[in-house]
Symmetry: C2
Subunit: 321 residues, 2 copies
């Protein structure tokens, strides 16, 4: 990866052709090796012009969430410091879970271009077409008891919220517990999975599915009415590596707040941005529909709903659209 990264840096820093000799000198590898790297870059979707006697010129980067591309935008200490990139995977969460079991450190990040078995909460599927969105899972190793894990969901949502605001300049909405909406449709879903002992969390997998360049025609009929993407809302195509880098930076910021100020502070921040206090909300709790005025969320992340004058605390449920 180091040499790939260096070659892209060299090509990026020249607006003109760069000779193979020059590159091979800087990298300390043969000209044939340089040629091989160029070929592999083309496989990743880079468009590189080659001119005999002149060398190579970068015409277009693929805009894909490739580790070395994301790295250009990262200013994190741990999040995304190791990125495992896959073309296709069953589920980034499942893969990250196995990596965590084998001891991979906090901040390790799994990214895939497509998921065959992309999952949401409660074993639901997450629509995961290839090459347009972001499917990402982070390994976290917070030093907390299982009862305190709930707000980690909000870390992901807050990070995505800020990312969308900065990148697209449109304002998303937060839907309890784990979604981010644009124009009342899902642009992002998050999934927290944990491994723990009875009193101590071993690790957490924070999964994020963010719809970026997906078009309406990519959607299947059954989710067309409820799913959207940054592209669908703004008619712009986004560099997914940039979006991903931004998101990892925000994630680390909120994770630091979680570790230093606690989950209650994350809940407060989420509640502030979700602006759900005083709103009429319908929640589907295992098939039972609860309707009431939101009193906000409590310090553990549970939704508080005033139903006929009584406050009900809801942990597992879905806010309805």
């Amino acid at each position: 990866m180091d040499n790939i990264k260096k070659i892209i840096e060299i090509l990026n820093s020249h607006k003109d052709y760069v000779s193979g000799d020059h590159i091979s000198e800087i990298l300390g590898v043969s000209r044939t090796a340089v040629w091989k790297y160029i070929k592999s870059l083309e496989k990743y979707g880079y468009r590189i012009k080659t001119l005999k006697g002149k060398g190579y010129m970068l015409e277009k980067t693929p805009g894909a969430p490739l580790p070395w591309e994301i790295d250009r935008f990262l200013n994190t200490k741990t999040m995304g410091r190791e990125i495992i990139y896959k073309k296709t995977i069953d589920s980034t969460n499942s893969f990250a879970f196995k990596l965590a079991l084998s001891g991979k450190p906090e901040g390790t990040c799994v990214i895939a271009e497509a998921q065959n078995e992309g999952r949401g909460r409660m074993q639901r599927t997450w629509f995961s077409p290839e090459g347009k969105n972001l499917y990402l899972s982070l390994i976290l190793r917070p030093y907390i008891e299982p009862a305190r894990i709930y707000p980690v969901t909000f870390i992901s949502c807050l990070a995505v919220y800020d990312t969308i605001k900065v990148a697209s300049e449109i304002a998303p909405a937060l839907k309890w517990p784990n979604d981010v909406l644009l124009n009342n449709k899902k642009v992002c879903g998050t999934l927290i999975e944990i491994s723990a002992e009875s009193d101590m969390v071993n690790f957490v997998i924070a999964g994020i599915g963010l719809n970026i360049n997906m078009e309406e025609k990519d959607l299947t009929e059954d989710i067309r009415y409820k799913a959207t993407s940054l592209y669908m809302e703004t008619k712009k195509v986004y560099d997914r590596a940039f979006i991903c880098g931004l998101m990892l930076n925000f994630f680390e910021k909120y994770y630091e707040i979680f570790k230093n100020a606690g989950g209650s502070e994350i809940c407060r921040l989420w509640e502030e941005k979700a602006r759900i206090k005083g709103k009429f909300i319908e929640v589907n709790q295992m098939g039972e529909i609860l309707r009431g005025i939101s009193v906000g969320i409590d310090a553990t992340g549970a939704l508080l709903l005033n139903i006929d004058g009584k406050t009900k605390r809801i942990i597992a449920g879905d806010t309805m659209f």
Copy 2:
């Protein structure tokens, strides 16, 4: 397994020799097949006398926790209805965790004669010599949120407590949060590991290490002062299949209480048998030593300690001997 089980039943029900013909007739297999089954039983440690013209007679069962032996003592609906038996394993919990990830149902039980990497809480090792004790892990799939998982530890402890009382007629003691003691030494440790989403448990692995026939000479120097076994306390050798069957029966009983009456009822039962109310207790909480008078445990399983007039709630910690 079915034929193995049937042969043992046949041999057990005859005090005299049973002819190979008779067995082959009942099983509907050839005499050579019967002979092969007999040979494999001998490998499992059964002592079987063979007399030409007379047949086979069972002299001695190995007393090992073999699935078909345990099955004779089971009266459960789910617990131990499938038992995976291994000579040696890294850790029964790790193996059961993988089985649970692959979809194995509630009640599936992993048993090993020895563990190379037997684990206790907080990544500690659990001393696991071969062929004398019980190392067992159960897959559970309760429909609860992660915050309610703590009392599952007590289900294991209560089951072992009752098992020891019935089998050995001596009274064990319960030590918060996860040990069973005899004569102030550990006879059993339990380890709960969970996989969950933020609001819902996927599965729980309930691991139990119970020292049964281990002798003083089996112990390493570093744990001699704090570990014991049923044999060491009573000078009797126990049938481990019987102990295991008994324990699974009790486990299911308490698990039903957990599901129907809730974790608080399990905590109440544990507190009743642990008789810790009013006792002076020292707890090591991540290196900090807390001393106080126990007020019992609360409905979530946390230890309540009165320290200088103030009640402190302790989740992660170790009661000191």
